[in-house]
Symmetry: C2
Subunit: 197 residues, 2 copies
């Protein structure tokens, strides 16, 4: 049987994952501590035994997100387009199988964009801003014809904003996650930056 400390850690993990899902689906402000408590099947008061505040719980999630993002996907790409394709395929695959990865992406994107999120957490989330980084990749790749013409920052902005839009909409559309409806294909979104051939 697990020790008390292990129990506690498991309980924390349970809260973390339930909260992740709710925050991703509903956003920070619309997710009530009571919602999380119910999802984790415990009293509201007990939530505060595990986390000192809603804010701190959210911050812990964002920290996880930052760390996860900083571990670069350890794959080799034959060309820079595959970087984007690979990312999208992974994310769309996880949407059904391991939704937490997918929820984490949505949460991080929201944390950067939403108002109502404490400033210091927003900054934390901003530290992994794909738009800036991808703009450089795109600028470099354009010289070899991997990407369409156009302002690299605007292209990157269009790509990542679209990705966020799609992921967020998937998150709130149960038919997508259950598989009753077909998911968008990575290639479709990639064509924003690849352009017509």
């Amino acid at each position: 049987m697990p020790t008390r400390d292990e129990q506690k850690e498991q309980r924390r993990q349970l809260i973390i994952f339930k909260a992740l899902e709710l925050f991703a689906k509903k956003g920070y402000s619309d997710t009530k501590i009571g919602d999380i408590a119910k999802a984790a099947d415990m009293s509201v008061g007990l939530m505060f035994h595990y986390f000192e505040s809603k804010e701190q719980l959210y911050e812990e999630l964002v920290r996880m997100g930052v760390e996860g993002t900083n571990q670069p996907m350890e794959m080799n790409f034959s060309n820079p387009l595959d970087y984007f394709t690979g990312f999208l395929k992974v994310m769309l695959g996880y949407a059904k199988e391991q939704p937490w990865v997918f929820y984490m992406f949505v949460l991080m994107a929201q944390a950067r964009r939403s108002d109502g999120i404490p400033a210091h957490i927003k900054e934390l989330a901003m530290s992994v801003n794909q738009i800036e980084q991808s703009a450089e990749i795109i600028a470099a790749g354009q010289q070899y014809g991997y990407f369409r013409e156009g302002d690299p920052y605007a292209l990157s902005f269009a790509f990542w904003s679209s990705v966020q839009g799609v992921m967020e909409q998937i998150a709130v559309t149960p038919e997508m996650l259950s598989g009753e409806k077909e998911l968008p294909r990575a290639q479709w979104i990639i064509d924003i930056i690849r352009g017509a051939k």
Copy 2:
């Protein structure tokens, strides 16, 4: 000089437009009545002289959005792709010049998606759901090669979710609205449904 009734109507309009901008930028829950009051330069109490509640103010905006959307753009399109291109060009153009049209699009999309919005308003907003309608246009157009292959609903879903993502990100990025940074181009987003040629 304007009559008292005209004054009142103008004041209402002012509130409406300030609220539209704030709701679009911050979302329903994160927009406080106090924020709107400050933007319209009046006391919080006075807001309730003009609107009976935050909810009712929001509902009025959604009604405006529904009506606006139901007046179909009176343009002739030589092919169905132009329908989407035309829409995007208008919306991106308005982002800088007449942002209220643009904010209205963002608000309507949020109203459909967000939690925390009263159910009856959500339904109202749902009554103009581009995804369903565009799926039919896409299905029809695919037979003539206007759109890429693939499940029409998923294509429509990808397109409109992307558009929402882009518009929402523009709304919260002042450099975009002020013109310091280039906006995404309509063609880029269209390629989601048009595909590589």
